[in-house]
Symmetry: D3
Subunit: 241 residues, 6 copies
Amino acid sequence: MSRIDGRTPQQLRPVTIERGWSKHAEGSVLVSFGDTKVFCTASVTEGVPRWRKGSGEGWVTAEYSMLPRSTNTRGDRESVRGKIGGRTHEISRLIGRSLRAVIDYKALGENTVVIDCDVLQADGGTRTAAITGAYVALADAVTWMQEHKLVKAKTQPLSGTLSAVSVGIVDGVPMLDLAYEEDVRAETDMNVVCTGDGRFVEVQGTAEGEPFERHKLNALLDLAVAGCAELDSIQRAALAG
Amino acid sequence: MSRIDGRTPQQLRPVTIERGWSKHAEGSVLVSFGDTKVFCTASVTEGVPRWRKGSGEGWVTAEYSMLPRSTNTRGDRESVRGKIGGRTHEISRLIGRSLRAVIDYKALGENTVVIDCDVLQADGGTRTAAITGAYVALADAVTWMQEHKLVKAKTQPLSGTLSAVSVGIVDGVPMLDLAYEEDVRAETDMNVVCTGDGRFVEVQGTAEGEPFERHKLNALLDLAVAGCAELDSIQRAALAG
Amino acid sequence: MSRIDGRTPQQLRPVTIERGWSKHAEGSVLVSFGDTKVFCTASVTEGVPRWRKGSGEGWVTAEYSMLPRSTNTRGDRESVRGKIGGRTHEISRLIGRSLRAVIDYKALGENTVVIDCDVLQADGGTRTAAITGAYVALADAVTWMQEHKLVKAKTQPLSGTLSAVSVGIVDGVPMLDLAYEEDVRAETDMNVVCTGDGRFVEVQGTAEGEPFERHKLNALLDLAVAGCAELDSIQRAALAG
Amino acid sequence: MSRIDGRTPQQLRPVTIERGWSKHAEGSVLVSFGDTKVFCTASVTEGVPRWRKGSGEGWVTAEYSMLPRSTNTRGDRESVRGKIGGRTHEISRLIGRSLRAVIDYKALGENTVVIDCDVLQADGGTRTAAITGAYVALADAVTWMQEHKLVKAKTQPLSGTLSAVSVGIVDGVPMLDLAYEEDVRAETDMNVVCTGDGRFVEVQGTAEGEPFERHKLNALLDLAVAGCAELDSIQRAALAG
Amino acid sequence: MSRIDGRTPQQLRPVTIERGWSKHAEGSVLVSFGDTKVFCTASVTEGVPRWRKGSGEGWVTAEYSMLPRSTNTRGDRESVRGKIGGRTHEISRLIGRSLRAVIDYKALGENTVVIDCDVLQADGGTRTAAITGAYVALADAVTWMQEHKLVKAKTQPLSGTLSAVSVGIVDGVPMLDLAYEEDVRAETDMNVVCTGDGRFVEVQGTAEGEPFERHKLNALLDLAVAGCAELDSIQRAALAG
Amino acid sequence: MSRIDGRTPQQLRPVTIERGWSKHAEGSVLVSFGDTKVFCTASVTEGVPRWRKGSGEGWVTAEYSMLPRSTNTRGDRESVRGKIGGRTHEISRLIGRSLRAVIDYKALGENTVVIDCDVLQADGGTRTAAITGAYVALADAVTWMQEHKLVKAKTQPLSGTLSAVSVGIVDGVPMLDLAYEEDVRAETDMNVVCTGDGRFVEVQGTAEGEPFERHKLNALLDLAVAGCAELDSIQRAALAG
């Protein structure tokens, strides 16, 4: 049962996480899941949006975007079109919400971290690669804040670790970390965001063709939880490196 | 273990589906889940978007919007702000994708159905009420198309039935069909779209506070499947009425 | 001389005004002039726009919009197109200006009332139905403000009552309250906004086909003044109800 | 009873109409009503908008705009703000609708005339000056079309002449052609568009302060009709010049 | 070697500068270079943009725009299209930057001057005509500020004079102040902004067809410097007038 | 006379050009001038914009953008702001115009190449790095077109080679290839685009502080011509590699 790139159904693509990819950002990562490459930066600013001022709590938000030729056919720039598309909006919100699930706002203090995830090359799974890379950029930004005394000593704004992976059913077989060609053919497509201790932060499953049964959902969740555990190790290794 | 409005955790709010709420639209429904009221219209046009022309296949799409004072505090109109917000984009996409899961494009022929879901009054669960009502409006539009010979005799563009419900964990208790006040306090929030035969079309779970364990996910899915079965009966009754 | 729906030229369509149509808004009305149905809400907020701060005076403004399928053919959403059309702008301005003619800004104090008029179903005369319903929603909002002590005791922010009606010349005959089919055929089209004591707030007459003579203008004004008087009674009955 | 600039209540400001103010446009006029100066151009193109193709009928439309410093205080450019304001929309629509009232679409053939009215200096009455000047630019463009055989021989696309003037009640006195300072103080403000034979094309009256009685409306209409007759003579003289 | 309009290659078109063209603006000029006519206004406001507050320094900025029918074929309004085009942006920036080169921010104090350059009729060289006229409008605005004590006595916010001209190589011949027809045929096109003492503020040369050699660049600069010296005299005469 | 990074005034920063940086684009390059890093892709599509159809000639255009955190302080995304800033417009136009100067449209045939230049990290000179990299991406795209028979055998759409560099006067000293810190302090700033045979395609000089004399302009042009010659060698080496 071999896949288009020779992987087993349970196998991730080669995942690399390169830190320090920007000289300006407080945290920055180039993450790749096979040919999917996402550049993630974490930008720290003192202060919070107006609606949060005086709360003593911080804020984390994210923006996702694809470079025009990150895909096989060039797409129009959203800046040129003058508006952000629904898919971009949806993924930006997903990334921000996921990261906030592992943030202790009180410990962060009235500081804001903006995560930018720009897809340099797309081959399926850009949103899950983005979350996986964004967590590492965020972790570096938090360390930077600790070093620069923006957060109080002995507080830890990160309440957990976070990674994400896509799973799907292709030709009836549940598979981990779909490449673009597999994604297009998938009957069911799911993105799962987990903490390092195996709990769920987001579960988004979609029937692309046929509606799917509960046992298929379960099989996909099993695969995803295992995949996230593996990604957690890769993140830890990168942060230790 | 009683809820703010006296329901049991497994209980839906009173659900009503009034058909024929517009004299213009080919299908139209006012759906209410308690105090949440959504006006759904289905508009049929011959022809399909350009990228689909000549395929022999139809198209279904949806747009969701909230009236400015459907909520407790008046919100700005997106038309006045000049752009659609991320949440609106996300829900419009969810509704359209869900409905397309029960459409046989070939049987629909080169016709387009646009579903508009406008929230007149919001009290939690607007997107799931919208999907539940939209399905009925779509069913009426399909009947209209059959009567007007826009689809071939003996073909059935609808390949299944569809309803949706929100579930969540509030104060540690899994609950069905959250009202706004419950939704705000929920630790985990999930929207589930099911076909009438109990299969999944969309599963979207989000940790609002703490990440959640697999067993909680399972409890929520159990509640949602039961809720959708009940909604399916209400839809059938409305369509038979 | 009977009209398409059997009315006499001097006859209004059946007019209904249902108050309390929203659980959130300080004033809310579903108004119908025959098949034209407009949902009007009045939203109160303390404070005024920046340019009016410190004046001790309040502000009233309005926004008008049509649901996409309120008309016979579905129209694009202005939020999706990213801009508001000229007709929408024009009518929103007309409604706001008309309502402000019966407001005593000093008595209102530094409070703002925003009136939203959303057309659920259109069959001619949406702007005049909107003004007629909006006045009732505004009156309810003012009562709410008095009950909640937002305006001083013994002051009355409303300096008069207000209703509006369309008139036009169809096949040479001046007619009151045109339905859509009549409106399309009208040679001259006029919208008149009156106070309850029969004075004019707005008079907008347009030659759709031929320019019109002074005596026709006079005949139309006579019809409109009588129509507004009738609407005034209906509004009073609704507010007394 | 003398006015701020020494005029009688029944007197127009000095009105000048200079033709041929652009070397590019098929018709062009600099019109001034006292210190109000509007540059009007008429641009002819063969063909009509898509929705009118094949009808054999032409189209006339107009756009109005104010230069940023045409007013006492500089206003933001609408191009920079990225959207057109309600007032601009409303006046553009009024100008186009008024001009179309004196156009015979059949005689115009499938040609389009776009009228641009750009206010170079504003001192009240810009919309009525614009209509008065635009008519002359349109007349020149029609002559150009006849000379260039864009319309058939012996056909006359203009079915009448057109001018416009503002009237209002200031300190209880009905006055013709209000300057800005008078306009600001007016209790009632009215814009009237007439054909050369004294019929009405548009009548737009607004209570700025108090609602107004029928006799005041009549007095204003009398003034406006006389003013338009005078403007008609000035237009004829300009076109004869 | 005569040009389309009979000029020698070294000759400017007739240049006129009429001051006081607006009753509202603090400085205003109608500048013409042959058939190119640009209306320039300078608007003074006390205070500076937020990012400059408290600096004790002033600000000068500019906006350029073409009326829709200033050109041979009518162009869409940027306000209607909802966005500013690249060319407009580029020229607005050029004008503002050029004017700021002769402004002493300290002497200007915390005041802002906005220069609006609206092209009434275009025949090549609109941006250079705009800069040449804008300088005169700015000079008048500065005088106005001195008279109204907005700048301190004995300070001079203008640190020099400024004019601009286009040059280009047409049919192999370097020419001064290109008319539109020449501009279209030019192989190389250059816009040069000089101070009155012959120094450069902006040099922008573009190969429209073939790349150009250093000696051609030099020949064009020689022409431009001479042209600007001549413009400087015309400006001085206008300001003395 | 050493610079902040130890270079001599005549010295470029280390320049690297990595080809094949995208698996999707027909040409792609990561170019770096010191810490300035720009990702350039060339996307080929058959056909040309509508206004060029049937001409037998091709088209080349470019879009430039900065990632939000490519700079020291995070900037807002233009897609989120809903409009493109003036600087972005200006640089996109410069890149496109420059590349078109070395394109033989006839030889290109009716094909379009879009060049995207996305700044990953900025440290001065992003537009000149972008042009230098874009040329190499374009050359690779042209080779791809030749291999895929999109252009006719034995035709060469590239009529020359192209590179660009910034020069400026810092503390009175003319310097080549300014880093950000130098650029900020420069009195005069110039961007020069040259062909490989030393001719000029664009010369854009700006007085940031004081207007500049002719001899300074000459000194800067000498530096720029030498810098471009060096860049030409680096490009050739990269293309040969």
